[in-house]
């Protein structure tokens, strides 16, 4: 295990201390607990609250999207582990301004159960909570079983659109509707070529051959669709899109946003080589591209690999995506629509 850290058990809390130290102008912790993080300007807000939460090891996911135009709070779990429901509750209490709170989180068993539990606890405190579990990894369950799909990088679009809607002053139902609409419009496919080492575990999460890739692998190393020899970037992208595009489906005349997301160790250079092929395929299919994101949006520590998310736009989602946002990990000026 070759990592910059101190005691492995302290990894998550020290990381959070570093984040709070670096971004104290934008973020603060509540309940005296670095694992409960909210926007520092929360009180002036008076809008529907948006909370997320999830395991550590995926920066900028999850807390990286807490900020203006996106989310209001985030509870943080251990590496690849759900945060506890009491932390979720603390965040909920801190961000609620009486207009209710929407939970948006990735569709993983542990997270679902804990957010459900937190919702019940929040109800006891008379806070109105609704939830949206994002799941758009087409490799994780077949078409027809969408509810079983894992949430991966595409959740960025859900945060972005729901966050923009809340910022407009929409009510809880409206924001919930946008979260679901955005989640329904996005699909993701990933590929991994190297494992990760969870600091407290100290050894690789899985074994993969020196010349192998796994298409469809999840961001915690969940088994994918196919393991095989590492193909050329063009062939990898083609295989991913062949599976992804027919799923929604995305068809000629559609307008989309594309997110090419690095899993951690894959250089931006390679992501752009991949995007080049994505653009070529979309163009050939008559699908036009409005806005492209390339970089690390949902990682898995130092895993090498990437994912492609395609987000189908209509006027409503497009204008929400185009709205400005500002978090310590993501800044976007208003886009021209």
């Amino acid at each position: 295990m070759k990592k910059f850290l101190n005691q492995p058990e302290a990894f998550v809390d020290e990381m959070l201390e570093g984040i709070l130290e670096a971004h104290s102008d934008q973020l603060k912790s509540v309940a005296d607990d670095v694992r409960c993080i909210v926007r520092s300007d929360i009180s002036k807000n008076g809008k529907v609250g948006l909370a997320t939460g999830g395991g550590s090891g995926h920066l900028p996911l999850f807390l990286g999207y807490v900020g203006k135009g996106m989310l209001d709070g985030c509870s943080v779990g251990g590496v690849f582990q759900s945060p506890s429901s009491d932390r979720m509750l603390e965040v909920t209490k801190a961000i609620d301004t009486g207009k209710g709170v929407l939970y948006i989180y990735g569709n993983y068993g542990g997270d679902v159960m804990n957010f459900d539990m937190a919702s019940e606890m929040a109800a006891m405190e008379n806070i109105q909570v609704v939830s949206y579990a994002a799941g758009e990894d087409v490799a994780s369950a077949p078409k027809g079983e969408e509810a079983k799909r894992r949430g991966v990088a595409g959740i960025f679009y859900v945060y972005k659109c729901a966050g923009a809607k809340a910022e407009e002053g929409a009510n809880l139902d409206e924001v919930r509707r946008i979260a679901e609409k955005a989640g329904d419009a996005v699909r993701t496919m990933g590929v991994a070529i190297s494992p990760v080492v969870v600091p407290e575990v100290g050894k690789p999460s899985f074994i993969i051959g020196d010349d192998e890739m796994e298409i469809g692998m999840g961001i915690h190393g969940e088994p994918g669709i196919r393991r095989g020899k590492l193909l050329s970037a063009n062939d990898v992208v083609r295989e991913m899109l062949d599976k992804l595009l027919p799923d929604l489906p995305y068809i000629s005349g559609d307008e989309v946003s594309v997110l090419v997301n690095g899993l951690g160790a894959t250089p931006k250079e390679e992501l752009y080589v991949a995007y080049r092929k994505v653009a070529e395929i979309l163009r050939r299919k008559g699908i036009s591209v409005f806005k492209v994101y390339v970089g690390e949006f949902a990682t898995s520590l130092e895993m090498a690999g990437f994912s492609i998310s395609v987000f189908k736009l209509d006027d409503e989602l497009k204008s929400l995506l185009a709205a400005p946002a500002r978090t310590p990990f993501f800044e976007q000026f208003q886009l021209e629509v």
């Binding site: 759900s82 068993g109 539990m117």
Partner: protein, 207 residues
């Protein structure tokens, strides 16, 4: 059968989890992420430490708080399920400062229902439910005395666990393995057996 027995029961479960820590890790490594032995010992160590020092004669409250502590200490899938089980089981016993065998059946029924509710799952899907639910049913039919109750409950939990081997996993990480999960004993169910055993043995021995 007062709060001190309840505390002893938590301690019994703790010991079973500790003794079987590596076994649980091993089972969870095959069709999961291998953390179960860690989360279960963490969960019951924390809960046991807290409960030991708690002035509380209401057994319902005691179990409810056990669940609360587990929820904080172990927010993994099983941690959360077991936490919900203890909380709902505790709610079913609210106000009781002494327990009778029928109360234990009430507790595990509420526990099993909590798992079904929280896990959005049902019996037959290769999970802890396949251990707790049959155990609860067996106890409901054997409330004469602690001995009968305990024997029936444990026997049902054991055979429930055995049955999970034939099932295909429908939930959690194990579900990714689909057919490959068949033939393997469910890790969560195994931890479930230790909960049933620890609880019933403590009450049986105190009777």
């Amino acid at each position: 059968m007062d709060a001190s027995t309840a505390k002893k029961a938590i301690d019994c479960i703790r010991k079973l989890m500790e003794e079987n820590r590596d076994f649980l890790i091993e089972l969870d490594s095959i069709i999961g992420d291998g953390d179960l032995g860690l989360t279960m010992t963490m969960a019951f160590n924390t809960a046991d430490d807290k409960m030991k020092n708690l002035e509380e004669s209401d057994i319902g409250q005691l179990f409810f708080k056990t669940g609360m502590e587990i929820a904080k200490a172990a927010p993994s899938t099983m941690g959360t399920l077991v936490a919900t089980g203890f909380m709902r089981g505790g709610m079913a016993l609210k106000g009781k400062i002494e327990l009778f065998p029928a109360d234990m059946a009430l507790f595990f029924r509420a526990f099993a229902d909590a798992l079904i509710d929280r896990g959005k799952s049902k019996p037959g899907e290769k999970s802890i439910i396949d251990v707790i639910d049959p155990a609860a049913t067996a106890m409901e039919g054997s409330t004469d005395d602690w001995n009968t109750l305990a024997d029936a409950g444990i026997a049902a939990a054991r055979s429930g666990l055995e049955n999970t081997k034939m099932m295909m996993a429908r939930h959690g990480r194990a579900a990714y393995y689909q057919e490959k999960s068949i033939g393997k004993q469910d890790p969560g169910g195994t931890a479930g057996l230790f909960i049933v055993e620890g609880m019933l043995k403590a009450f049986k021995s105190e009777k």
